[in-house]
Amino acid sequence: MKRRSLIAGAATLPLVAFVRDRTARAATPLKIGLLEDVSGDLAIFGIPKLHGSQLAVEEINAAGGIMGRPIQLMHLDPQGDNARYQEFARRLLQREKVDVLIGGITSASREAIRPIVDRADAFYIYTNQYEGGVCDANMVSVGAVPEQQIATLVPYMVEKFGKRVYTVAADYNFGHLSAEWGRSVLKPLGAEVVGEEFIPLGVSQFAQTIQNIQKARPDWLYMLNVGAAQNSFFEQAAAAKLNLPMGSPIKIMLGFEHKLFPPPALANMYATANWFEELDTPEADAFKKRWHAKFPNETYINDMGYNAYVAVYMYKMLAERAKSTKKEELRKVIATGNAGIDAPEGHITIDPKSQHTSHRMRLLRVDEHHAVHVVKDFGVIEPYWLGQVGCDLTKSDPKEQYTPDHLPKKG
């Protein structure tokens, strides 16, 4: 299976486009190492991520590459297996000597390869929204983090629907950390968590959870359920006429549940996102058109695929302004505080202290026909939390992941 994925990865390299450009052909290629799961349980997310990277590479190569050098995309498929992530990260960094490493889906996969990236002193871009907190100079994060997603969503839900909240979360670190984030935002608002339930990954039957929710009579549900099995909650809750508004930092733009379940299972779901396919600005429309022209069978351009696309352009901007692919030179560009690009969502910038990315956040609502409406535009929100608690990568590089319960030591 390993062999097959290597061949599949090599066969999909979009190298045709740059042939038109003479300077690009003359120069040595710039190597991007990409780790995305396109088989195994996480393929539903990994495939659009691979597509996002491929589209960006094809466009950049057609326009002359990075500093005149064509991009060579070297994709390996770790199949959702963290040991393979480590093996492939080593192979890409040590043997292939890639200029930059991109990818990883789960936080576990990111934490599995981060020590390898750090030891090789390489430049790594993580492209998912996640629970936040990684303070590591070797890593840039282009996905949204809790201060952009949860600190926006939760106050809106409390104001609109009420102070009684029921949390349904996946029983692993993302679910627990995001539930903790929710509690820390709810407390100053005087809101109350009337029930909190952690669900083992893979559980697909929710009759009891639905009854527990009815018993607790919350005003709205804070949904942090993860994975295809746990997503069955929505269909089962709708069948039991639970009819409660739901808020989630991961639904719709990430797992496009509203496209997978027949309406009205996702009715009254609210989510905050930097990208969702229904976004209809001119830039977003042009981007969607290019994507669907290249990948006509894509069900939905999700936020992960979008971030993977943006990551390649972010790297292009850094390398061209630094006139180098060296990590130290790239970080000098980040340190200016204006290292940004015009992405399909709007202008976004890398924050020098945390090396996370600002995002234009919007709050969206799913109606009973599963159409998506933007109900609030929060504007551009900085990834401020790490900087606030004391992570400053321009001064020191602790290479740690912080959480509200595990903060940097003062001093």
């Binding site: 088989s39 669900i199 559980v203 039991a240 549940e257 027949p262 069900t299």
Partner: protein, 289 residues
């Protein structure tokens, strides 16, 4: 109060139905025939996908579910003929082979049909008892589980085929000597087991998110129920599912799903320790003494 009481009964019925329907096909293929079928979840997935595909082609749900059941049964018969047949005397090899089939089926589905598949909305609406609302379709699942138990009992205990099948599983050489067409019996039994797995998928298709690896969500419960049930499918599955459902729905209600799942597995360890041949062995010994 009546709402709470009904809620307990409903939760029990819900878990019971899930255990019985997940396990019924495996009870025949693993419990009776001795094939450690790691591809059981993929038979279920086959039932789900065919149901959804034929439903979206315009068939009424019940007919689509019949198609899903039949398709899984057909796949079972073909698979038995192609790869399972040489393995009746080699149960450990059957584990490897069916695991291979399972991987090929999930990844093949992913490659050919993509990572997601359109779902079917749950039919039949809901009803109220006290302060709670319940999905009506879940009661249909419970009725189906009882129906499946009855069907398996009648088929294997009350028909000529059942007698021949039980004879074949107990002593194939002797059965053949007496003129039983054992290879056809094996193929048919395997096909019925696969069809029951397909039926489970067909019934749960309207309540779940459809992805190629969804079969994995059934397989732990299926094996647990069959192992606790013991060698005799007909005697064991129902009491095993009932006891496990009481334990799980009770723990789910009082302590949440995490404890419910842990409790289920601890109960299984204890039961297997105390009753090494499962409920059916214990019941058989009791009725013998």
């Amino acid at each position: 109060m009546s709402g709470d009481l009904f809620s307990y009964i409903y939760q029990f019925a819900d878990v019971f139905a899930f255990l019985v329907l997940s396990a019924a096909g495996l009870a025949i293929i693993f419990g009776m025939m001795g094939i450690i079928n790691m591809a059981h979840g993929e038979f279920i997935m086959c039932g789900v996908y065919v149901t959804s595909a034929t439903y979206h082609m315009g068939l009424p749900l019940v007919l689509a579910q019949a198609c899903g059941t039949a398709a899984a049964g057909l796949v079972g018969v073909v698979l038995e003929y192609l790869v399972i047949r040489p393995l009746y005397a080699r149960p450990l090899d059957s584990l490897l082979v069916t695991l291979g089939v399972s991987l090929i089926a999930t990844q093949g589905t992913l490659v050919i049909l993509g990572s997601t598949f359109p779902g079917i909305g749950t039919p039949l609406g809901s009803f109220d008892v006290g302060a709670y609302t319940f999905s009506t379709y879940r009661m249909v699942l419970f009725a189906a589980a009882i129906g499946v138990l009855g069907f398996v009992y009648v088929l294997f205990m009350r028909t000529g085929f059942g007698v021949q099948a039980r004879a074949t599983m107990q002593n194939a050489a002797m059965a053949r000597a007496l003129g039983v067409p054992t290879s056809r019996i094996y193929a048919l039994s395997f096909g019925i087991g696969a069809a029951l797995a397909g039926l489970c998928g067909a019934l749960y298709a309207p309540t779940m998110n459809l992805i190629p690896t969804m079969g994995a969500g059934f397989i732990v419960e299926a094996f647990v129920t069959v192992v606790v049930g013991g060698a005799s499918v007909l005697l064991g599955t129902a009491p095993a599912a009932a006891v496990l459902a009481i334990i799980r729905s009770g723990l789910n209600a009082w302590y949440g799903q995490v404890i419910g799942q842990i409790g289920l597995l601890i109960a299984v360890i204890l039961i297997v320790r105390v009753l090494p041949s499962g409920f059916s062995g214990w019941l058989a010994r009791r009725s013998a003494s």
